[in-house]
């Protein structure tokens, strides 16, 4: 396998409703990513793009529709889709294209336009439940997150206040992100006092539904070294899918992520992730998920995560900053684009180009992760300089 580097990245703003069509959003992020590393579309060998369910944009075969906005016209182009994990998985998908020796450069582009979904994006998730044994109960999407959050909290005696700390941490980081629309400080009280949706989930425990796109450029080692003196290497990748019988798994621990993370760390030669990783971008569509995933990523001992969070361990200037981008909670959640945004954040942070978001201490190794489907799939990318 060849070494693969990230050499460029670009984003759109993440907004509740964008004027741009899905294609136009993809074009904005993609052309920004190309400009960032001085490449033209003609320098790109292939495109790996991702978008979550077709239903959000309301365009079936969305991959084909989006392709030209992703720079895929007349090029080998392939969409990847693993639910919420798509944004990080698309990077792995692109990595395969280049690591295999088949292509020297690859554009990875993820887009989501959730504002098309009426009356609310949540409604489009009805069909993810088992058609016969679950849908008859008229479930809604929040149920499974609320059930998982409750199980996780009760297992370790965590409180809603504990979970809110993660929302506060990420939302504070997000205030500095140029794609974020949220510039106001959010406190633990704000989270606790926000309207209850499905106990234990309140409004501000949840990341905001958004439109947006994100793109990165991958290059094989010789090309990367020509393009930049600061390539960010993809050191390890991992992904796992657990059973769709989600009621059969104990939801307090993300077993799917445990395996995916170990796979990525082994490839990257990392033996003690909690000591060796400098920045973490766990997937955080809900505040509890950030903490849940820090445990699955082996970056925090099970049941000790809140203690570490309270001690400032995961703050921007802590030992292991968690979601320095602001994550989905702080920047917004255009599903697939949000995962790719996390990898873009590793790229800027490891190059020391994150501006006022910059994590101190010259971070050298970072991990990004996304999660999806029926709480069963995780994709992990380890990047380093």
């Amino acid at each position: 396998m060849r070494k693969v580097a990230i050499v460029g990245a670009g984003l759109t703003k993440f907004v509740r409703r964008a004027l741009e069509t899905p294609k136009e959003l993809s074009f904005e992020a993609t052309s920004t990513a190309l400009d960032s590393c001085g490449l033209k579309l003609e320098d790109i060998d292939c495109v790996a793009h991702g978008s979550a369910p077709d239903a959000f944009d309301g365009i079936h075969q969305k991959g084909e529709y989006l392709a030209d906005g992703c720079g895929g016209w007349n090029k080998p182009t392939m969409r990847v889709f693993v639910g919420g994990a798509t944004g990080v998985h698309a990077i792995i998908h692109g990595w395969h294209h280049v690591a295999s020796g088949m292509f020297d450069t690859c554009l990875v582009v993820c887009e989501e336009k959730m504002s098309s979904a009426m009356p609310h994006a949540q409604g489009f998730f009805l069909t993810i439940f088992d058609a016969i044994t679950e849908r008859a109960l008229h479930p809604n999407l929040l149920w499974i997150f609320a059930l998982e959050m409750n199980r996780y909290m009760s297992r370790y005696g965590y409180t809603k206040e504990d979970m809110a700390l993660a929302a506060v941490n990420n939302k504070r980081n997000g205030q500095l992100h140029p794609s974020s629309q949220f510039k106001d400080e959010v406190t633990v009280e704000d989270v606790l006092n926000s309207e209850i949706m499905a106990y234990p989930v309140s409004r501000l425990d949840v990341s905001p539904v958004s439109d947006g796109a994100a793109a990165v450029v991958l290059a094989a080692e010789p090309v990367a070294r020509r393009l930049t003196d600061k390539p960010v290497w993809i050191e390890g990748v991992g992904w796992t899918l657990d059973t769709a019988y989600w009621g059969t798994r104990d939801l307090y621990y993300p077993r799917y992520l445990d395996k995916a993370a170990r796979m990525a760390y082994e490839m990257a030669g990392i033996r003690e992730p909690a000591k060796q990783i400098n920045i973490a971008e766990p997937y955080d569509p809900f505040d509890y998920k950030a903490l849940h995933h820090m445990e699955g990523l082996q970056l925090s001992p099970r049941g000790k995560t809140v203690e570490l969070l309270r001690d400032g361990h995961f703050a921007r200037d802590g030992n292991l900053p968690m979601c320095p981008s602001g994550g989905l909670l702080g920047v917004g959640n255009p599903i697939a684009a949000a995962g790719t945004m996390k990898v873009a954040e590793l790229f800027w942070q490891l190059r020391g180009e994150a501006g006022e978001r910059q994590v101190p201490g010259n971070p050298r190794l970072g991990v990004a992760q996304a999660w999806g489907d029926l709480m069963q799939v995780s994709s992990v990318v380890v990047a380093g300089i």
């Binding site: 409703r17 004027l19 033209k40 309301g58 007349n74 069909t127 016969i132």
Partner: protein
């Protein structure tokens, strides 16, 4: 394992039907940056616009924000007129649910500049149609136009 039996309609087997009203979702599609201007011109001025990529010598209709070939941002807007050429057409006799259509309709693909617009054909005799036929967009009256592709009522022979 072999397929044990052939079932032609899924409701001939044991099935679960949650009711048609159980998934009452819809999508709302905005026209986008280029689309917004394209439909403004159509609605307000009754004009069709394309955007031109000089480098690739392509004029996209309807107008687009970017050139899919070279990824340039397109800023040259071109009034392409209301006339085009019938590139292909079909007679539609069945509905999407595969029932007989009361009034068979004709759908055409019309070449305007380098774009291809799918639309209805009207004021025409189906046996007179031929590929390569010059056609023209028949617009709805100004007051009925709302910034949608249906502001063109249909294309008719020139």
């Amino acid at each position: 394992m072999a397929i044990p039996e052939r079932i032609h309609r899924n409701i001939d087997t044991r099935y679960w039907n949650p009711g048609a009203e159980y998934f009452p979702v819809k999508n709302r599609y905005t026209a986008g940056v280029a689309g917004q201007r394209f439909f403004e011109e159509l609605k307000e001025n009754g004009k069709l616009f394309g955007t031109k990529c000089s480098k690739c010598s392509v004029t996209f209709v309807p107008a687009r924000l970017f050139c899919e070939r070279c990824f340039a941002r397109l800023e040259e807007w071109v009034d392409v007129g209301l006339e085009g050429v019938l590139y292909s057409f079909t007679h539609v006799y069945r509905t999407k649910s595969d029932e007989e259509k009361e009034n068979p309709s004709i759908v055409g693909a019309v070449r305007i500049a380098d774009g291809l617009l799918m639309h209805h054909l009207g004021e025409c005799n189906e046996k007179d149609l031929y590929i390569g036929m010059p056609v023209k967009a028949e617009l709805k009256p100004v007051g009925e136009r709302e910034g949608k592709i249906t502001d063109i009522a249909y294309f008719k022979p020139l």
